[in-house]
Symmetry: C2
Subunit: 383 residues, 2 copies
C-alpha cells in the first residue's frame, strides 16, 4: 500500500465544506489531491472487508490526470429523471489486485444500461463506499466525464447484493449488467434478488473471479430515497481526520467524527480460514496491561466485538481495526499476531437499523444469536 | 418412452411431398399426427445423444392441440430481412425430464431478442435436429403461432455451441439469451464463441442444470446459407420409414434412406462413466454368429465405430444404435448388455465435411487420432 500522502490544508478545507448546509449547492471537484483521504476513508468504512482501495486509487489517479477532476454531486442537484448507475467491482477482493480491470468497463456498463432503459445515465454511484468499491467507479466517472454521486448503496461494505439500501427501498436489482476485462458482457433479469446474487456469483466465477457490475439502476428521483446519502463526503472527512491526525490518528478520528474506540493494544490471537468465497474466523486483542481482551468475530468483515461475553459493537455498525504505526485499516485477511492496533466502531446509516435493515444485515443475518444494540447506545451506558 | 404410434398413410403422404421440388412452395402444416414420426427421426439423428425427444413430443402435442398446427416453412419462403430464432434446450439431457420447462420460455426469448435486435422474429428454428431439440422449439412455435423453419444448426446432435453451422458461416453467437422456467433471464455478449460456451454452461449450471436458449440470431437471408437446410423434413422422412417398416424397421430405413447398417447383433460389453457433463466410454456389439465385433466409442454421442481396428464410421457422420424389438434409437446412457440392436450410420450434412467443419466436429476434435472418411465411401469400397 502506498504511504499516506499529506493533504494540503487548502484541499482539506475544500471537502470540509461538504457537510450539509441548507440552501447551498454542494459541488466539489474531486482531484488527485483528494484521493489519499478518500481511499483512507473507504478503507475505514470497509470494516475489515471490501478489499484494499489501492488499485482503485491508482486507476482513479491516472484517470483524473488524463481526463480532469470529477464533480462530486448531491442527488438533489441532478435531474430527477436521469439514470444513476450504481456500479463497482464484483468478486473476491484479492483477485482485484491480480486480474486488473482494463479501465473502460464503466463505458460498457453505461452503453448497455442506456440501451436497456432507453434513457441517459447522468451520474456514476459506488454500490458500496467501504473498501475498494468506494474508489473503483471514480475511475469510470473520470473517463466518461460523468459526475460522481455523493451517496452509495451500503454506507459501509457488505458481502452480498441483497445487502444494499436500494433493496430495502424496493428498487429491482435487475436488469443488471456485468462485464469482464475482455468486455464479455452479461445482462441478468430475475424476479428475485436472491437469484440475482446466485447468478452473478456464478458468472463472476466463470469470468475468473472478478468482474465489474451495475445493478439497481434507478432514476435520480428514486435514488434520493433509496441510498446512503453523502457517504462519499463522509469517507473524505474520516480519511482526512486520520491523515491529518499526526501522532495519534485514532485520537483525531474519535475527537472529530462519531467513531468510538473499543480497545487499543496487541493482536494476541488470530484463527482464520478461507472457505468458499468467505474469510471466517476470530481474533483477540489485548490491552497493554493484559487486563482486557476484545474478541472479534470475522466473516469477510469484522462482524461482532465481544468483551467478557458482552457485545461491544456488532453489524450493521462498522468495526474497523487500525494499525497504530501507519494509521491504516487492516483488512481481515491481513490481521496477524503481534500487530499494534486500535479497534474503532462507527454508527451505521439509520436505514440498516430498521427491522427490515436488521433482517438483512443484523447479527442474526450472519448467524450470531445476539441482539443488536446501536454502538453509541452500548457505550453511552455505564458498563 | 411412449409406444410408437402408427401414422395414417394420408399423413405420411403429406410430408413425403416435402422432398425438394423446384418451383413449388414447400409448406406443410405440422399437426399432432406428424409428431411421432418427427420425434423418431430426431432420435435417429441424435446419434445416441441430444436427449430423448419424448418430453418435447408431449409438450408439442399439447401446444398444437391448444393453438393449432404449425407451418413448416422453407427459408426461401420467408421474408429475407426477418429474424430467425435458433433456439432450444441447453443443459444435461436427463435434467430435461426432471426439471420441466414452463412451456412459455420461447415467448421470453422472442421478447428479449426482438428488443435487442429491434426487429421482428418471423420464425422459430431448432438449433439442433438431433434428439430432444428437434422437438422442443416446436412447442414454442405452436404457442407463439410462428412458423417452424425446415432447417437447423447441426443436422444431427453435438454437445457444444461452437459446433453449429452458423459458427462455420461466421454468424456471431451473441447476443444470446437464456431463460429458466422461473423466467430468470440472461443475455450474454462475447467476442468469441468459446467464451459464449463457457459462460452459458456456467449459467445453465447455476439455473440447476437446465435452461432454454436462443443464439446465433440472424436474418432469414443469412440463415439461407448458414444452416442445414430441410433437416426437419429429413427427420420426418427417416422417422416415417422406421415407423412404417413393420417387421423390420431397419431394413426399411436402409432401403428408403441413405442409412447404412454397420452390424446387427447383441450388445456384449458396455464400459461407461459419467464425468462432468459428459458420458464417456465404449460398447461392443457382436453379430449372432460371434464372428464380428463392432466397437463404439462414446462421448455423449456415438463417435467412432471400429471393427478389427478399422474405422467403419466416425463423426461427424451420424452413428445410431436401434433397438430391434421396438425400432427405437437407444441413447448412450441407456445402452446395456444383452440388448438386440442394429447399428446404422447416416452421412452428415456436407458443411461438416469441409476442413473448417472437420476442425470443429471431426474425430480429432473429440480426441481420436483417426482420419475422417465419409461413411458412404468406407462402405462403397470392398472391405
Amino acid at each position: 500500500m502506498s504511504a499516506p500522502t499529506a493533504l494540503s490544508p487548502a484541499t482539506t478545507q475544500t471537502f470540509r465544506t461538504l457537510e450539509p448546509t441548507s440552501g447551498v449547492k454542494r459541488r466539489v471537484l474531486l482531484g488527485v489531491d483528494h484521493l489519499p483521504a478518500l481511499a483512507r476513508g473507504c478503507a475505514l468504512f470497509g470494516g475489515g472487508g471490501g478489499g484494499d482501495p489501492t488499485v482503485g486509487l491508482l486507476m482513479a489517479r491516472e484517470a483524473i490526470q488524463n481526463h480532469g477532476p470529477v464533480p462530486l454531486v448531491d442527488l438533489d442537484d441532478l435531474p430527477a429523471d436521469g439514470l444513476v448507475l450504481p456500479c463497482g467491482y464484483v468478486g473476491a477482493p484479492t483477485v482485484l489486485r491480480e486480474k486488473l480491470q482494463n479501465g473502460w468497463e464503466g463505458r460498457r456498463l453505461v452503453e448497455e444500461v442506456e440501451s436497456l432503459f432507453g434513457r441517459s445515465v447522468v451520474a456514476i454511484m459506488p454500490i458500496e463506499i467501504g473498501g475498494a468499491n468506494g474508489m473503483v467507479p471514480l475511475n469510470w466517472a473520470a473517463r466518461l466525464r460523468l459526475p460522481y454521486v455523493d451517496a452509495d448503496g451500503m454506507g459501509r461494505a457488505f458481502p452480498t447484493i441483497p445487502q444494499m439500501t436500494m433493496n430495502l427501498a424496493g428498487v429491482p436489482s435487475t436488469p443488471c449488467v456485468i462485464v469482464d476485462e475482455r468486455m464479455n458482457t452479461l445482462v441478468v433479469r430475475t424476479g428475485d434478488v436472491a437469484w440475482t446474487e446466485h447468478l452473478l456469483r456464478t458468472a463472476v466465477s466463470a469470468f475468473g473471479g472478478a468482474a465489474s457490475g451495475a445493478m439497481y439502476v434507478m432514476t435520480v428521483a428514486t435514488a434520493r430515497a433509496a441510498t446512503v446519502r453523502r457517504s462519499v463526503s463522509r469517507a473524505l472527512n474520516l480519511g482526512s481526520a486520520v491523515l491529518l491526525g499526526n501522532g495519534d490518528p485514532v485520537a483525531a478520528l474519535v475527537s472529530e467524527t462519531d467513531a468510538i474506540e473499543l480497545i487499543r493494544g496487541k493482536v494476541v490471537e488470530v484463527a482464520r480460514e478461507t472457505s468458499g468465497r468467505f474469510v471466517r474466523g476470530s481474533a483477540v486483542i489485548s490491552d497493554p496491561a493484559g487486563n482486557r481482551l476484545l474478541r472479534l468475530e470475522i466473516q469477510n468483515e469484522f462482524l461482532v466485538a465481544l468483551e467478557e461475553g458482552y457485545v461491544q459493537a456488532s453489524v450493521p455498525d462498522i468495526i474497523t481495526v487500525i494499525d497504530l504505526h501507519t494509521g491504516e485499516p487492516i483488512v481481515t485477511e491481513r490481521l496477524r499476531f503481534g500487530q499494534q492496533v486500535s479497534v474503532v466502531s462507527f454508527p451505521v446509516d439509520p436505514a440498516w437499523r430498521t427491522a427490515a435493515g436488521l433482517a438483512l444485515t443484523g447479527p442474526a443475518a450472519f448467524g450470531y444469536d445476539v441482539p443488536y444494540v446501536p454502538v453509541e447506545m452500548i457505550h453511552a451506558r455505564p458498563i
